[in-house]
Amino acid sequence: MTELKRTVTLTVNGKRYSAEAEVRLTLADFIRHTLGLTGTHLGCEHGVCGACTILLDGQSARSCLMLAVQADGHEILTVEGIAPNDKELHPLQEAFRDNHGLQCGFCTPGMLTTLLEFLRDNPNPTEKEVRIAISGNLCRCTGYQGIVNAALDAAKRLQGAGA
């Protein structure tokens, strides 16, 4: 009950992992250091920048604001799991590429995971809704216009794909 380490078993991008973690380890550090999935980025480590956003059971969450032990038994999606396979990109990723939605790429994993959930819940958003949706993700290149364009383009592509 009071141990300092625990075994964490969870599913990340469809693959099951089981590893020991110090109970104070954040989920973000567990994903990056223990599992070696360094696509999830860490900017501020106190819940402001949004770079570490992952999907926890399909809902976006900041992995720096969760302990790894809390994710035991849950399902996680990181940026590595968005593309359908090694050859193709997800339509959202394609839209980012085509609309100059990324410059340095640091904020991109958080932007993609955030928008993946947002476009699933709101498939036909307005520009204002997109801007609010990514208001918790900081882009220090200040490339927001390209990101907003990409999100709106992705909405069209995803609707086309679904039709």
Binding site: M1, T2, L4, V23, R24, T26, H46, G47, L67
Partner: protein, 294 residues
């Protein structure tokens, strides 16, 4: 930016959690983690024990009970944001919820965590004051209820005993067709409100205000009910002049000062935002709840 070492406990029942709280020294409760986790990462808090409430069943629910809406402490803000019951019965809450942080934080943040943390800028704390909510806490000797007026003891200090847990909160809905508005000012969407205003109104057939609740959040150490504004409006027709004049009294609020704004600015915002919220609430009196509140 890493949490300090602590022992981790994840009880499955409220009774077990209370037992741990009574037994362990320097323990902190972790609910949604959207306030405590940053504080741990920055080492503002150094607990020896963290007791996680996320594995306790039965603390997450929204239900109607005896004319009130009872919300379990571990109900995520997201569930309130998308609840039809909240939209129809407590539309002010849904308007406010959307202004809490971001989707990523509302997915995790809980109503109980926000109330127990008692940040004066928190939307849910302001709502507690606006609705005169009833806070339910559970300890070794059972549950007790705290009227929201008695809940904040001081800045970020709720009237919860060290061995008690906030388990639920009850809000009494205002009658159908009431006016409501939640308005806040922050530099960017999702930032902490520098100041906010929550308004609830009812009017009679002639358009005279029969009941008013006006609350200012974020300006003082705890949310403040603007009693003078409420009194000035009750029994009156809410003309633009009356609303503007009445809200001037909000400049007397004992405001806090921090890196974001001086006290005088918060007092100014209190007067401006309460007027804007009133104006918006008046237009909604007698109207059905809008399908979309954000």
């Amino acid at each position: 930016m890493k949490p300090p070492p602590f022992s981790y406990h994840d009880p499955r029942t409220v009774a077990d959690a209370i037992g741990l709280l009574g037994k362990l020294e320097n323990a902190k409760l972790l609910a949604g983690g959207q306030s405590l986790m940053p504080m741990l990462n920055m080492r503002y808090v150094l607990p020896d024990h963290v007791i996680v409430l996320n594995r306790i069943e039965g603390l997450s629910y929204i239900r109607e009970t005896g004319g009130a809406i009872e919300i379990g402490a571990m109900t995520r803000q997201r569930e309130l944001e998308f609840s039809d019951l909240i939209r129809s019965k407590l539309p002010l809450m849904q308007e406010a919820i959307f202004q809490i942080g971001h989707r990523q934080t509302r997915n995790r943040g809980t109503i109980g965590g926000s109330l127990a943390h008692l940040d004066p800028a928190a939307e849910l704390v302001t709502l507690g004051a606006a609705f005169d909510a009833t806070v339910v806490v559970t300890g070794a000797n059972g549950t007790r209820e705290i009227a929201f007026a008695d809940f904040p003891v001081a800045y970020m200090t709720p009237a919860i005993e060290p061995s008690e847990i906030l388990t639920a909160v009850r809000f009494t809905p205002w009658p159908a067709g009431h006016g409501f508005a939640f308005v806040e000012f922050s530099r960017r969407h999702g930032d902490f409100a520098i100041t906010s205003a929550a308004v609830l109104l009812t009017a009679d057939g002639a358009g005279k205000i029969t009941r008013a609740s006006v609350t200012i959040g974020g300006a003082a150490a705890t949310p403040v009910r603007a009693r003078e504004v409420e009194k000035a409006l009750t029994g009156q027709t809410p003309t633009p002049e009356l609303m503007r004049e009445a809200c001037e009294s909000c400049r007397a609020i004992e405001a806090i000062e921090d890196i974001h704004a001086p006290a005088s600015y918060r007092q100014h915002l209190a007067a401006v935002l309460s007027r804007r919220a009133l104006e918006k609430a008046v237009t909604r009196i007698g109207q059905p709840v809008p399908a979309k509140l954000h």
